[in-house]
Amino acid sequence: MKRTKLVSILSMVLVFAIFTAGCATGAKNGGGASNNEFRVNLSTEPPTLDPAQATDQVSFTVINAIYEGLTILDENGDVQPGIAEKWDVSEDGKTYTFKIRSDAKWSNGDPVTAHDFEFSWKRALDPLLVPEPSQYAYQLYYIEGAEAYNTGEGSVDDVAVKAEDDHTLVVTLVAPTIYFESLLSTAIYFPVHQSVKENEAFAAAANTMITNGPFTMTDWKRNTSITLEPSDSYYGRDQIKFSKVSFTMVNDSSSELNMYETGKLDYAGHPTGSLPSDQFASLQQKYPDEFKIKGTASLYYYLINTTEPPFTNKKVRQALSLAVNRNDLTEKVTLGGQIPAYGLVPPGIKGVEDEYRNEVNGDYFKEDLELAKQLLAEGLAEEGLTQLPAFSITFNTNDLHLKVAEAIVDMWRNNLGIDVQIGNEEWGVFLDNRNAMNYQVARAGWGADYNDPISFISLFTSKSGNNNTGYANAEYDELVERINHTSEPEERVKLIADAEKLLIESHSIIPLYYYTNVYLMKPEVKGVYVDFKGDIIFTRGYYEEQEQ
């Protein structure tokens, strides 16, 4: 009896402990979404919300909603007027004159002027920018004098961006740049309020941020949530339908799916979140109207170190590429609806009239096992070898990269009879080794910075800091030079296709597939899409019943 009494006392202690656990903090309950709230998972804290400092997708996602540049891109990737209502281009294609909308306002009510743009671009180029120089400043190097000023060799006064008056901005470029208007819609070209001179830390908290975009930030809880609300001073206020946008920061794909399934998110998955890839098939069945796969203009590929024998031999490299079954890879391994790649430029990038990939056939080679075997034998013979020395595929630690590498090792073993190791490395170590060309075959991925094929083509010039293959071809460099100085679109696309063919047929890289974004979105959400860069655009989104 005594014993049971003791047990009951201790039970009460336990119950009390659980109860206090429940009552520890008295914040208000999250509850369900209000009618027009749009809820997305951001996964992590944005490192910065200063347009001049941002370099990552999480930051861009928030910045794209709270700032607006001279132009915006629509769902098709076409340039539309933003803060600039119209513009003229000089005959030589180098000088742009922008007319700033007279009703463009900052969130504090100040007008957005041409002076703000001049100030902001020069600020981003400032080599002494606080807290650190802008990493993406090079995206402004198209402007005359920009590179010299940024690298400390020129004066700020020689940067060719000038506000003639409050509503007229004149910019002169180094060379005619066909995609300059599209570049203007990216964060580095966004304006910041001139008061940031007094407070460079403006973008670190919700209450000090003065913005000019469709939304303003009303709340920011570090590592937990960000809340946006429509900006009443935005010129297009009547087009903004969401009453609130809530970002959570949950960095776990199963948890994110659970949140979506329990109605805590209206959108789950790429680009800022993720869904468990082993559940793609079942999710597609379960939510046929909500499960979406959309291509983004990004390429997943393997680099080959062309400076290390026997990979100096083109036939050896070609054999490796031809012995990969890309259909099997996307349909049985990656499972996200990825598109097998036989070229460099992904679908979704503009050509002359249509997408570049529709205008220029991207199948530069065909998988062929017999040919691969024959090429390998020939290549090895030319190098004086009887069999391929041991080598490894290097990638940064990640489930998907591991699965892809394992599949490819398997294909090479079965198809070519060669043994390949796989080696995963921690991210920073991996990047260091890749940049130092301390690898044989390494994973790589590349996404578009702007909507033009040159964003991919320029990667493999001998001077490119992201080439990492050792591929150096004077003919290729010259082609890229010519592309950069050609403004006639058809001729330019032809040159681009020549360069692409040259690179792919050198087999310095093994294109594997074009990326896709996989996401779940509530069926009643409309007007929210993922653009060519893979950014989620929700500023003009709405709930369907609202429209009726």
Partner: protein
């Protein structure tokens, strides 16, 4: 006693200095830097950044500079999260970790001691076997499996709790249970074995012979002695839970300190790596110190004098 504590604290400071130095050089030895990504920035800009943060200087010079700042209690600003100081990161993240950790500890001590007692008092009976079975499960299943399972059953299937976030009292239930599983199991086993030992000790027999009530024997004589190993365990375990709740925080989307710690390493966020490592070290050392002091109160036989008391 006071002298003992002062001595301990001096040792702690020395250990922290050694730890800070070792971490600094190890960290600098890892390849990579904070300004890397899939897309390389032009070498000129990379160079400007390295100069800005003094990474172009020899490592020993950077080390002297860092230790100098440390002595001024200046831990610096994160290199990835702009304008966020190490103090801010600790303040915002640690609150969550502490709340969860302490709650989990309270729950596990209560539940663990209770289960251990039940087992000991029913020695070799069904309840004993049953609690030990539960304890073995608790020790062997990793907490992320438990966390995911709890989230799925109670969050998605039954919808009793929100699957993520920490916005209301109920939101604490699942993460706290997930965190307390292992320590509960551990404490249950500790309590059981030491209780069994104590119950067969001579002084308990004496107490019984004197005709004391079962409850008095159990609480005043047996439990007080049997709890010693549990106290030893609770201090370091609390520190472990507080500093090691990374995965549970990740699954339940809680912005605790663990997330920052892991990310800081991936990002080569040097200032944050240093600041958080030192902070965690202080927490662990304090937990040991408190445990030592607690001994003195529970067991008068242990005197806190020079060279005794462990740690």
């Amino acid at each position: 006693m006071v002298r003992y504590v002062i001595e301990k604290i001096l040792y702690m400071l020395l250990s922290l200095f050694v730890l800070a130095s070792a971490t600094f050089f190890l960290m600098k030895a890892i390849p990579g830097n904070p300004f890397q990504s899939e897309k390389n920035i032009p070498p000129a800009i990379q160079q400007m950044l390295m100069e800005k943060y003094g990474f172009d200087k020899p490592v020993w010079e950077q080390y002297v500079h860092y230790i100098g700042n440390l002595l001024k209690l200046d831990f610096g600003t994160s290199m990835k999260q702009q304008y966020v100081t190490v103090e801010t990161v600790i303040k915002s993240g640690f609150a969550y970790s502490v709340q969860l950790g302490l709650l989990a500890m309270i729950v596990s001590v209560a539940a663990g001691v209770l289960l251990g007692l039940i087992a000991a008092l029913n020695h070799r009976k069904f309840l004993d076997g049953f609690t030990i079975f539960i304890a073995v499960l608790g020790v062997s299943i990793p907490n992320f499996v438990i966390a995911s399972a709890l989230q799925y059953f109670f969050g998605v299937q039954l919808r009793w709790f929100n699957v993520t976030g920490l916005n209301g009292p109920l939101d604490y239930v699942l993460p706290v249970i997930a965190l307390s599983f292992l320590p509960t199991a551990f404490i249950a086993r500790l309590t059981r074995s030491s209780m069994l030992e104590v119950l067969s000790a001579d002084y308990i027999k004496t107490a019984r012979a004197k005709g004391l009530s079962g409850r008095v024997i159990l609480v005043k004589h047996a439990l007080r002695n049997a709890i010693m190993p549990v106290v030893t365990y609770v201090g370091p375990m609390t520190a472990n839970i507080i500093t090691g709740s990374v995965i549970v925080e990740q699954i339940f989307g809680i912005g605790g300190l663990g997330k920052d710690f892991v990310n800081s390493i991936t990002n080569r966020d040097y200032t944050l790596i240093m600041g958080l490592t030192l902070f965690y070290a202080v927490i662990l050392m304090l937990a040991r110190l408190i445990t030592d002091i607690a001994y003195g109160f529970i067991d008068p036989r242990i005197k806190l004098i020079r060279g005794r008391g462990g740690a």
